[in-house]
């Protein structure tokens, strides 16, 4: 049974929504340090919203596109430690595949437009 479910998992085609692609894009610009939720919102220029970014990140973490870790608490800083995110290897692969597919789709539509 377990083997079967693993096989199914492998057969699953990874899906990537527009927002998820944007998050991956932003995170890939700063691969080593990682970014936290609000930073992503600020960098995106209002394309990501404060209320939805955490839900998106949580979903992406579930899918395995990003990985997160807690920031080390500084002695001078108060409050909860922030959660930082960076793109996982699988996330990078998916993102590149997504970009290739998007490019191919664009070329195809351009060709179709030219033919018309």
């Amino acid at each position: 049974m377990k083997l079967k479910s693993n096989k199914r998992e492998e057969e699953k085609i990874p899906s990537l929504s527009g927002k998820e692609a944007l998050v991956l894009d932003l995170l890939l610009n700063k691969p080593s340090a990682g970014m936290y939720g609000l930073e992503l919102v600020n960098v995106s220029g209002n394309r990501l919203k404060r209320g939805t970014v955490y839900v998106t990140l949580s979903r992406m973490e579930e899918k395995g596109y990003v990985e997160s870790w807690q920031e080390e608490p500084r002695p001078d800083a108060a409050g909860l430690p922030r959660k930082l995110y960076r793109v996982s290897g699988y996330g990078q692969k998916v993102y590149h595949a997504f970009q290739m597919a998007r490019e191919a789709w664009r070329m195809r539509t351009l060709e179709a437009g030219g033919a018309l």
């Binding site: 939720g37 609000l38 919203k49 209320g51 955490y54 949580s58 973490e61 909860l80 430690p81």
Partner: protein, 202 residues
Amino acid sequence: MNPGFKTDRLKGDGSGTSGCGAADTPAPAGRVYVSDALPNFNCDIQKEQIKKYLTHHADQVRLQWDTHEIQGSKFVKLTGTIREPRPFLLERFKVEVARFLLVALVVAIIRSFYKNKNGISRPPGSTLFAIADFFCSKKTVGEVVTPLIADMQFEYNEALAARRKHKAKWVRIRCCWSFFKALGMHSILKTFVEMWRKISSV
């Protein structure tokens, strides 16, 4: 019977007839409540009550009467409109001031109830955290609420360090909105607001 409003007073003996000699006048302007529930008086027994009623409501009631006989005694049925006198501007202003003072009093009572007597304050977002802890699963709290509040606290502390109190307050408000939006509660809130609007418009 021609419906109309008789301006004449009811005679002392209560011997009015159905619309007889009634001078029809237009309905009084302003807010008008049609009242079908005006009292029926027994003409023989309740002459004094009729007089008192008319004296009391002289400014507000314009009457049309219709006598009818039940078991040998005459009754007068009063129908008409009761007009609520418009409150003066000063009266309305007084009501508004009273309302404002009442709200201010309630707010002051609530604030005094929650007043921090020890000088120890909880970090911002702790109430939201408690709400989420009660309503949401551990997974949601860990993956959505905790990072949201952690980021807010970071921003809040930054604002306070820069001595920007108003920005710090604004950060808290924005965090509340993000919190409700993140947990899908904004839709519930919207429903309540719509309900409140509908109720208040009635």
